[in-house]
């Protein structure tokens, strides 16, 4: 037999308030929006990048 049949109606304001808080879950106060960070700037991939210039010959 299912356990729920043993539960009797109760007046439980605290439980209702708790259920209300669980249902009306607020959004998190801390956001994590895109901000300046080195890894977010992208890495320039130049497959044919020129070599580092050499000092000219004297």
């Amino acid at each position: 037999m299912a356990a729920h049949t043993g539960i009797r109606p109760v007046v439980a304001p605290a439980d209702i308030a708790q259920l209300g808080r669980l249902v009306a879950e607020p959004e998190p106060a801390l956001a994590d929006p895109p901000l300046p960070e080195p890894n977010a700037a992208g890495i320039l991939l130049l497959l044919l990048s020129p070599p580092t210039p050499k000092e000219p010959r004297k």
Binding site: A31, P33, L35, A40
Partner: protein, 301 residues
Amino acid sequence: MSTVVRTAHEVTASALGWLHAHRELGAFEDDATADLGDNDSVYKPLCELALASSLVLREGVAGSAELRAARELLEFSWRQLRAGDLLYERQLRHGLVTDPLETYVHHARGGLRHEALEQLFEQTSAADSITEVLPNRRLAVANAHRVAGLRRDDDFQGMLRQTWLGRTPQPWALDWYTAYYMTHAVFHVTDWGAMPGELPPDVVGYLENWLPAWFEVWAEAGQWDLVGELLIVGACLPEPWCEPARWELFAGVQHGDGLVPRDAEPVDDDPWRRYHDHQHTTVVATIAGTLTTSRLLGGGT
């Protein structure tokens, strides 16, 4: 006078006063050469100072004290650039760079001209001696040519469509860096709010839809520099977006002396540090306030 006009006007007056009072902190230490050394420390801030000043003068909606400060700031940056000689030498030495033109036009707008430099720009432009740049930067160069009166066959609408904004991506497909690209695409295609009609209708609708959402995200994060740029974008729209609550929020972060902090981090006490950390955001605030005031009073139609 509407609340926003008053708020925007006060932000500008205060920001411009701070830039004027501390301008010497933005001077070159020694005689600068065409190679400039560290571009970001003096040259770029001077260019931004000239931009803000030139827009205050162009719009002409500030009080007489502010107009005088703007004039003096423009003359200050012009002196720092040795009345354009520095730009001339730099363009001669580095034929494909575009910053001399982009810096020059702010001064030229204010009547500070350099004949030999203009001839050099004409030659450079005719030869298409322009380095390859990101699409939003290409619009910046095209606008500089337009402001300088150099005739070219630049297709602004085509260029806009090459930018992030021009493709009107899904509005969450945006990061901090790309948000700046987006703002600059608007600045340059409209010449800083002078030609709101240059924005195609679909782009206008897109910005009207999403500016409020982007504003909330970066305002919550205290990214005041980007928030200020979003307010400039709002002022560049055919129907300016300038909600009182947003402007009150932005005005609320301005310090009593006029400094507008770049973000929510503590502001350093050292005067040099203060200037160099927050000069850009204070310039942004000056421009945002100027364009908003002007548009609400009927300019840029």
